[in-house]
């Protein structure tokens, strides 16, 4: 692994996973972590405030989707808010105006994420490194301005009063506890899908590109196609996360398309651990919790976030999960 790679995956441990979870691509430590995660998902809503928990899960999925790109392809997108926010807008619009059921609305959010991913990926994939980051940032800013002006987004008011609707047209989701299970399921599916992708042959090629792109090219891989597909997948899942969030809160707004949101998801992933399976979720949990409990301190939240950024970059590049994994000598 090259020293200047953006991700620092700890040494691989070749311990075999628990039998049932091995099929999902988990090793032993990951299986245990996954079981803890499952337990948390089940017990969580009875202990913690469900709405808070749902917000956390939406951001966790968003961060996981983002991590697919930065952690496994090494591409830093600074414009992921456009997929997240647009996914939210389309899910909200389809649920409110077109009368879509919640699962369809979320899928619509994913679809717009994919579409936007194709267009912006087509432009951004042409450059790498910092240029890639700057281009995605600029494109996202353009999408933000478009959202501000398009009629269906409702400008600064956003789309409000979005109904949570009935799952498959049958199950009423208006109670917090009922929609929680949907959100948890969406998160889990997204999480497992990403994990599946990472461990597939496709994912291995992505990692190869991250580690040494010229070499991957010389081995005959059409690197741009691989990057593009990863980008679109990441955008799709970000759209799904945004769509889910819009349904939970009944609202889709400009906040989620703004560049600050792109920065936040970078922060979550970085804090949790780039290129780790569980890192982004942990990072999202920490940041969302912090925002929630420090809300009364106003602008200090921004300062603290900035400070976390600086500390992570200077001294803590493996992130929380990365450090824990290194300490335990496992891969998480």
């Amino acid at each position: 692994m090259s020293a200047d790679s953006i991700t620092a995956t700890p040494e691989t441990s070749h311990v075999r996973g628990l039998p049932g979870l091995q099929a999902l691509g988990f090793n032993r430590a990951q299986s245990i972590a996954f079981l803890i995660l499952l337990a948390f998902l089940v017990v969580g809503p009875f202990v913690l405030y469900p709405v808070f928990l749902m917000k956390l899960l939406c951001f966790a999925l968003f961060a996981c989707a983002f991590n697919l790109l930065i952690g496994y392809v090494g591409l830093l997108s600074f414009g992921h808010a456009m997929f997240f926010g647009m996914g939210g807008y389309l899910a909200a619009h389809s649920a409110k105006v077109w009368g879509f059921t919640p699962e369809l609305a979320i899928l619509t959010g994913g679809a717009i994420g994919a579409l936007l991913g194709v267009v912006s990926g087509w432009l951004a994939i042409r450059r790498q490194g910092i240029y890639f980051a700057m281009i995605t940032l600029a494109l996202a800013q353009m999408v933000y301005f478009l959202c501000l002006q398009m009629r269906f987004t409702g400008g600064e008011d956003g789309i409000q009063g979005v109904p949570r609707g009935h799952l498959f047209g049958l199950l009423d989701l208006s109670a917090d506890m009922s929609i929680y299970w949907l959100v948890a399921a969406v998160f889990l599916l997204g999480f497992l899908l990403i994990n599946r992708i990472i461990h597939s042959p496709f994912g291995q090629v992505l990692t190869a590109i991250r580690e040494n792109e010229p070499r991957a090219i010389s081995l005959g891989y059409r690197v741009d196609d691989y990057k593009m597909l990863a980008f679109v997948l990441s955008a799709t899942l970000a759209g799904v996360a945004g769509g889910t969030k819009a349904l939970v809160f009944g609202i889709a707004t400009l906040t989620d398309v703004y560049w600050a949101m792109s920065g936040e998801v970078v922060l979550m992933t970085l804090l949790g651990g780039l290129g780790t399976v569980f890192g982004p979720a942990v990072g999202a949990a920490v940041i969302v919790t912090m925002q929630n409990y420090l809300a009364e301190f106003g602008a200090w939240v921004t300062v603290i976030q900035g400070a976390i950024f600086v500390v992570c970059v200077i001294a803590f590049r493996a992130g929380i999960v990365g450090e824990v994994a290194r300490w335990l000598r496992v891969r998480l």
Partner: protein
């Protein structure tokens, strides 16, 4: 502007100590606690027009109401919604679900204001919006739990648009922020300008958060309109005003009407740049003896800020609510926010900030609107002596008629 956090905290501490110390033991034993949540912008562009100053005004209302002497404890919470509707709605939900908050006050930024509106209605608490601008709060999304206290876009348009024509400004050019709020403000104002016999010569829409307004101002000058209407907000407004002064737009007699401006914006602009601007507020600290008395009472706890109409609205709405609480009993007021708001509508209002007034069936608080012109540096005699009154629009005329709002509470 610099806010002294420490002094605010001190007053906060002092205010929360008062009930515990001053109460006879028996009364305290029976007391019920009313929880008021002040939800606003503590860190962003609307900090000065809401922020900690709103909280201080709410505390002042509690002191002035004398409710603690009647055995009711009042607790104040505050939080920063960061101008994000999802943050705002999360806080509102948590406050109500977990912390037992009964009333949510202030809430600038229309999008957050509307988001909170839905939640408070769903949970049957009470909601006094003071700093949100949207007329939807008393129109399409009106709620039996909501009072919209201070101002709205219709009132601003009516006062600034209509009264300005009367004052001679009969041809207009609009510089409008290109999103729903700007469009609504321009549309409403145009209607009143035309109704009063004025003309709209043109307009230009600019993207939100522009930095350079010179080219729009140039287009406005080229139209030779007597009034340039600024239908934008926050830093956009401040930048347009600053650059208008730089280009000497007002030197040739053109007036600039800022459709949404608070006295704190004038303060941060400085009189040099702000002189001659025209704007509407429903409260000015130096308006009459009562407003001055209020300002003197509250000023010490504002850390150098002065109250704008938005802060006055927080004070007055909470004061009125506490009167109702004293009347119907804290337990009943806590049990149903809608009942408390219904009682508030039935009782005429009277406070130092807005004088006598009333609350309409759709939740609209009624009081006069004042068209002000910003003084020149020579005219200003002291700190925050910024406004001179041009026109008053009476409470009967200032607000959107009940029949036009489309509020569902009216039909039933």
């Amino acid at each position: 502007m610099i806010q002294d956090r420490r002094s605010l905290l001190k007053t906060a501490a002092a205010a929360s100590v008062v009930p515990a110390v001053g109460l006879p033991a028996r009364a305290r034993a029976q007391s019920t606690t009313i929880k008021i949540g002040v939800l606003n912008d503590q860190s962003g562009v609307y900090r000065d027009i809401s922020g900690p100053t709103s909280t201080a005004c709410v505390r002042q209302a509690i002191v002035d109401s004398g409710i603690t002497a009647k055995g009711v404890n009042v607790e104040v919470l505050q939080a920063d919604h960061q101008n994000k509707p999802d943050v705002g709605s999360t806080i509102a939900r948590q406050w109500i679900d977990r912390d037992g908050v009964d009333v949510i006050v202030d809430v600038p930024n229309s999008s957050v204001a509307l988001a909170v509106n839905g939640i408070v209605r769903e949970k049957n608490k009470a909601y006094f919006n003071s700093t949100g601008a949207t007329t939807d709060l008393t129109g399409a999304q009106c709620s039996p739990n909501t009072v919209h206290w201070t101002y709205d876009t219709y009132m601003l348009a009516r006062s600034t648009g209509g009264a300005m024509v009367k004052a001679g400004g009969d041809s207009w050019f609009f510089i409008t922020a290109d999103y729903a709020f700007g469009h609504a403000l321009e549309r409403d104002t145009s209607t009143f300008v035309k109704a009063a016999g004025g003309k709209v010569l043109g307009g230009v829409k600019h993207p939100l958060q522009s930095t350079d307004f010179s080219s729009y101002l140039l287009q406005a000058q080229q139209s030779r309109a007597k009034v340039i209407g600024l239908a934008n907000a926050g830093t956009d407004t401040i930048n347009s005003v600053k650059q208008a002064a730089e280009f000497g737009v007002t030197r040739r007699g053109t007036k600039i009407a800022v459709l949404l401006m608070f006295i704190n914006d004038v303060h941060s602009l400085g009189l040099q740049a702000a002189q001659g601007l025209v704007c509407t507020e429903s409260f000015y600290w130096d308006l009459n003896d009562r407003t001055r008395a209020f300002t003197n009472r509250v000023r010490g706890s504002l850390g150098g800020n002065y109250p704008a109409m938005s802060h006055a609205g927080c004070y007055a709405s909470v004061l009125h609510y506490l009167k109702v609480v004293a009347d119907m009993g804290a337990a009943a007021a806590k049990a149903s926010g809608a009942d408390a708001v219904a009682r508030m509508k039935a009782m005429p209002t009277d406070d130092d900030c807005f004088g006598q007034g009333s609350i309409r069936a759709d939740g609209r608080k009624l009081h006069p609107a004042y068209l002000f012109e910003v003084k020149t540096p020579e005219e200003s005699k002291g700190p925050w002596d910024y406004y001179k009154l041009l026109q008053t629009t009476s409470a009967e005329e200032a607000w959107r008629p009940l029949s036009e709002g489309g509020c569902s509470l009216i039909r039933t």
